[in-house]
């Protein structure tokens, strides 16, 4: 891994006296490679390495007996700093019904995560959630959410033949009457460059005034993560991110990219196909995973 590579670089310097900038740059080259291999965005890596370099040229590394370890420590701490050092909460203290809107690219895990979140908030926070099937496009998307809703005992709202905007609006308007205090809007997957569909999300936002707009991102996403995150952030002013499929072995550098470009926290991690596969996101665990 990265630690071993840095050790071997710094090892060569033993007996050569003080560390020079040259060795630091050689070490930083290895950090850069590790981050790129972990799918951290190219530009994010560039600015991240700059930050690390500044600290690495300071006395904590240059005068250390274990410079490689010091560099790793700096990289690790800068990663955690960038990712947000503490787990971030959902905005649940608002006037009911709380509205959570799930958005993102096709296949990222929105429908499954909507059900996971409903299940979690029902069990852990004693909420009375309602799931809303706003995906009128994908074949059997409504059936998918209804099936999941049945599995966890959460009602699913849908209006046959209505538009996604109408479905969302009617759900929020009728929530309290039907004894629900939390509404999760599952929207259709879409490309951030699809103008018509991005406007649809903007309309849903205006009509339902969500307390949370969560961008659902697949942990195996590569360099494109910044383009997607930036677009959704600019159009909707998202409040957080959910990173899915972390039960795989993707290093997950997209986490860093998304955080760097939006400034918004990753609130949850999708960790499995079953409905209990959701956890609060831990920035420190993610930092270790990205570094490999």
């Amino acid at each position: 891994g990265l630690s071993e590579k840095l050790q071997s670089i710094m090892q060569k310097l033993k007996g050569h006296g003080k560390l020079s900038e040259k060795e630091i740059d050689s070490a930083l080259k290895e950090v850069r490679i590790a981050l790129l291999e972990a799918d951290v965005n190219f530009k994010v890596v560039k600015s991240f390495i700059e930050k690390v370099r500044e600290r690495a040229l300071g006395s904590e590394v240059m005068q250390s007996l274990t410079p490689a370890q010091q560099v790793i420590k700096i990289v690790h701490s800068e990663l955690i700093e960038l990712m947000g050092s503490t787990a971030s909460r959902l905005e649940l203290g608002q006037e009911p019904p709380i509205v959570i809107m799930m958005v993102g690219l096709q296949g990222s895990g929105k429908t499954t995560t909507s059900a996971k979140l409903a299940n979690l908030l029902k069990k852990a926070n004693n909420k009375r959630p309602m799931l809303v099937a706003c995906d009128t496009r994908r074949p059997a998307a409504v059936k998918q959410l209804e099936t999941l809703g049945t599995q966890i005992g959460v009602p699913v709202h849908h209006v046959e033949g209505a538009s996604p905007e109408q479905i969302a609006k009617s759900a929020v308007e009728g929530a309290l009457k039907s004894g629900r205090d939390l509404v999760i809007l599952d929207t259709a997957g879409r490309l951030h460059i699809d103008e018509e569909l991005m406007q649809e999300l903007e309309r849903i936002k205006i009509l339902t005034d969500p307390d949370e707009i969560l961008l659902v991102v697949d942990a195996m996403t590569g360099q494109d993560a910044v383009n997607v995150a930036k677009a959704f952030q600019e159009r909707l002013d998202i409040t957080g991110v959910i990173l899915t499929k972390l039960d795989g072995d993707a290093r997950g550098g997209a986490a860093l990219s998304v955080r760097a470009v939006t400034g918004k926290p990753i609130k949850f991690a999708g960790t499995g196909e079953k409905l209990d596969g959701i956890e609060v996101f831990h920035p420190d665990r993610m930092a270790s995973r990205i570094l490999g």
């Binding site: 490679i33 799918d39 074949p139 996403t221 499929k245 290093r251």
Partner: protein, 277 residues
Amino acid sequence: FGGRDYICAEDLDELEAMLLQADLGQSTVEKILSELKSRMEADGKADRKVLEGIISGIIGEILSASSKTEIQIHKPHVIVLLGVNGTGKTTSAGKMAYSLSRQGKKVVLAAADTFRAAAIEQLEVWAERAGAELVKHKQGSDPSAVAFDAAKAAINRDADYLIVDTAGRLHTKSNLMEELKKVGKVIGGQVESAPHETLLVIDATTGQNGLVQAREFNKAIPLTGIILTKLDGTAKGGIVVAVSEELGIPVKYVGVGESAEDLRPFDAKEFVEGLFK
């Protein structure tokens, strides 16, 4: 590039940045740039266009090297779609069925994803759109049993094609990879030399994990090709270059949208041009 100081370092940096941002991956980009160096003529002009041309050539060669093998068409010709969750397998199966039916072929679709909520219903809609017959069992049943029945049905109905849609699965789950192996074996037991095509469906937004996926799925069932989906987005799908090179498998089709007609045969030239946009 020491000594070759007529190559503008800035051009090289920009090209490297472009290739990395297209998800080609650090080691593949390094190989391409070193190959570029060795192909530079001693007295050649090294402007940006020349460099791009040489890089296009290098990548084009990698992509076309693996597409040399002719796939013999059998009856029924059995195609299995596999890959991690959400990449576009079911949609691609539907698009493929649609396109083959349009060509007058008799197509049987197998709903071998018996796990995910409404997976069977989703493929059912596609079967209807394609005018293809669907073989399905109850939710939760054995995927191999579905594959078995579908193979029998394809033979009995004298179908030209059998397309098997499998459940998305992470390659890190050994029990699911075993399930996939079993599906392959069962199909092989029913149809001579089947599956004839095993296509790994990769999402164009996938980063370096795409190579790991390809390696692992290849161990479960030897892959014959790749379907690269969601190329209508801003992601370039560059990871297929490393997959093609390492595993020697070609990209067969690309997905460029969510409608029935949005599946095209892979065009290496178009793909490489897309990397430079």
